[in-house]
């Protein structure tokens, strides 16, 4: 079963990410990824740029509405995601608690939709 850990950063944590390689904050993240890989649960992950770089697009009555900034105007913003292969939500919560992002911002745990549904979205259905 796959789970997404959606990592929400505070502005302070986004600021920390600008620091250099030897920063302890980055060290904690590196160690966390290493533990995920070595525990054989890692599927994929990526980090996002700060929310100010976001552009939000909507189509209304056939017209493009482009808006500067992120979809939701909240203090904490999506800063990255991790996809994990795990046996249960309990295991997913364990890994979320170990995530360095949990002690500063928040980590939202969401199961990925079952594969059949996902195929519908991605068009693999017809193959």
């Amino acid at each position: 079963m796959q789970f997404a850990l959606l990592i929400y950063h505070s502005p302070e944590e986004f600021a920390m990410r600008k620091n250099e390689y030897n920063d302890p904050h980055l060290g904690a993240w590196r160690a966390y990824y290493k533990a995920l890989v070595e525990a054989n649960v890692y599927v994929g992950a990526d980090a996002l740029e700060v929310a100010e770089t976001a552009t939000t697009v909507r189509l209304r009555e056939g017209k493009r509405r482009v808006q500067d900034g992120p979809y939701a105007d909240t203090k904490e913003q999506l800063g990255g995601f991790i996809i994990l292969e795990l046996p249960s939500i309990d295991a997913a919560l364990e890994w979320a608690a170990r995530c360095p992002g949990a002690s500063l911002g928040a980590v939202e745990v969401r199961p990925l939709a079952p594969e059949a549904k996902r195929r519908g979205f991605t068009g693999e259905w017809n193959q």
């Binding site: 302890p24 060290g27 904690a28 160690a31 290493k34 533990a35 070595e38 002690s103």
Partner: protein
């Protein structure tokens, strides 16, 4: 004036609820075999107390008042749960003459309730949550938080366990010899697990851990009152008190994590250490050794450093050897390896770690922390850094992560 009175009354209700909750739930559930309804009936009674007591004054015997109210509400609760068909004991209990049965004193049935919560037919993972809820009155949300389980999920799991208690024929009785030691062990394990949540992740300032540690000590005190002759009960209480005594020393003023070997003994709580020693001495006099007494003995040797200024690792090693014979748990094996390293050198400690099953320890943070430390001591910097990374990645607490990062260098 009435504001103050109301506040006083609220405080009284809180105190009575705290002190009597388990006794009332235990009495009600032992007579009805229906733990879920017993809890609901009592919460109704507490709500009713909140409306009546500020007006009419706190009754002379608050417990008896709550019991009467809970019994009255029981019939509605049972109807609501729709379990009439399976609750012969409930019907019998409700039919009894309420005036006559409800004398001021009713027997303390908490021990039976604890044994029900830790019954082998119930999922071991639910033993501790059940105890915390039924004997201490903690709600599912708080228990879920402590166990890192969503409140709704925890509520459902508790509900399922209680349904099993009601309809699974689990007896509300104190087990007799020869089953007693094993059944008692399950109760002690359940209490220690509550304490361990606040301890294993080493999060000394984490509120979620601290609260639960206090609840666990409370439960052990209750159990000791009920079973004053059991050495292991006293051993468990001694163990938890020793650990609790060090809580103030586990963090620096800046929130930094401080390992046991670097703690300043002057910051340990001496009243708690003394109390722990008192219980441990009494337990040893019963000459019925066991896991919790041995673990408490190890902590007692550590506490000795406050007086002698040194740690007697040989003594700790001896206790660990005995402990491994009765309880070869993962944590014990790691503790043993660390003791071997201190007593006989880091290489011997590493040899113990090497002999462990790698599969079993791949997610076990303490293994990697001890391994990293020992590799560093013998100068294997690269391997040490790798092991530190594993330990950091598996750690939950931020201060612990930072401590390990610093050591890793």
């Amino acid at each position: 004036m009435s504001g103050i009175n109301e506040e006083n009354t609220h405080r009284t209700i809180e105190r009575v609820a705290r002190e009597s909750y388990g006794r009332l739930v235990a009495y009600l559930s032992v007579h009805t075999h229906d733990l879920a309804s017993a809890e609901d009936a009592l919460s109704n009674a507490l709500v009713s107390a909140l409306t009546h007591w500020p007006k009419d004054g706190v009754p002379q015997n608050p417990e008896a008042w709550l019991m009467k109210a809970a019994r009255r509400s029981f019939i509605d609760v049972v109807r609501h749960h729709n379990v009439m068909q399976s609750s012969v004991p409930t019907l019998k209990f409700l039919k009894e003459d309420s005036v006559k049965t409800f004398v001021a004193e009713f027997p303390d049935e908490r021990l039976k309730l604890l044994f029900v919560c830790a019954h082998p037919a119930i999922d071991p993972a639910m033993h501790t949550p059940l105890m915390l809820q039924s004997v201490l009155g903690l709600d599912a949300a708080r228990i879920g938080q402590a166990f890192l389980i969503a409140p709704k999920t925890m509520g459902q799991r508790l509900f399922r366990a209680k349904t099993k208690i009601r309809s699974g024929g689990i007896p509300f009785e104190i087990p007799q010899e020869p089953d007693l030691p094993e059944r008692l062990d399950a109760v002690l394990e359940g209490i220690y697990a509550a304490f361990g949540i606040g301890w294993d992740d080493m999060a000394g300032t984490d509120q979620r851990g601290r609260d639960l540690a206090e609840e666990a000590i409370w439960l052990a005190r209750v159990l000791l009152q009920l079973m004053p002759g059991e050495a292991e009960v006293q051993g468990l209480l001694a163990l938890m008190l020793h650990c609790e005594a060090r809580r103030p020393a586990r963090r620096g003023a800046d929130g930094r994590y401080i390992p046991l070997s670097e703690q300043d003994p002057k910051q340990w709580s001496f009243p708690l250490i003394e109390e722990a020693e008192h219980h441990l001495t009494k337990a040893f006099k019963r000459a019925r050794s066991g896991r919790f007494q041995l673990e408490a003995a190890i902590q007692s040797v550590h506490a000795e450093r406050a007086r002698s200024g040194r740690t007697d690792w040989m003594a700790i090693l001896l206790f660990y050897e005995q402990l491994l014979r009765v309880s070869p748990a993962l944590g014990t094996q790691i503790g043993y390896a660390a003791a071997v390293a201190e007593a006989n050198g880091p290489e011997t400690g590493l040899a113990v770690l090497d002999a462990m099953d790698l599969e079993a320890v791949s997610h076990y943070q303490p293994y990697w922390a001890v391994r990293a430390h020992l590799l560093q001591r013998i100068g294997h910097a690269r391997e040490a850094a790798d092991a530190y990374d594993r330990a950091i990645g598996l750690a939950e607490d931020r201060a612990v992560k930072e401590f390990l990062l610093q050591r890793r260098g």
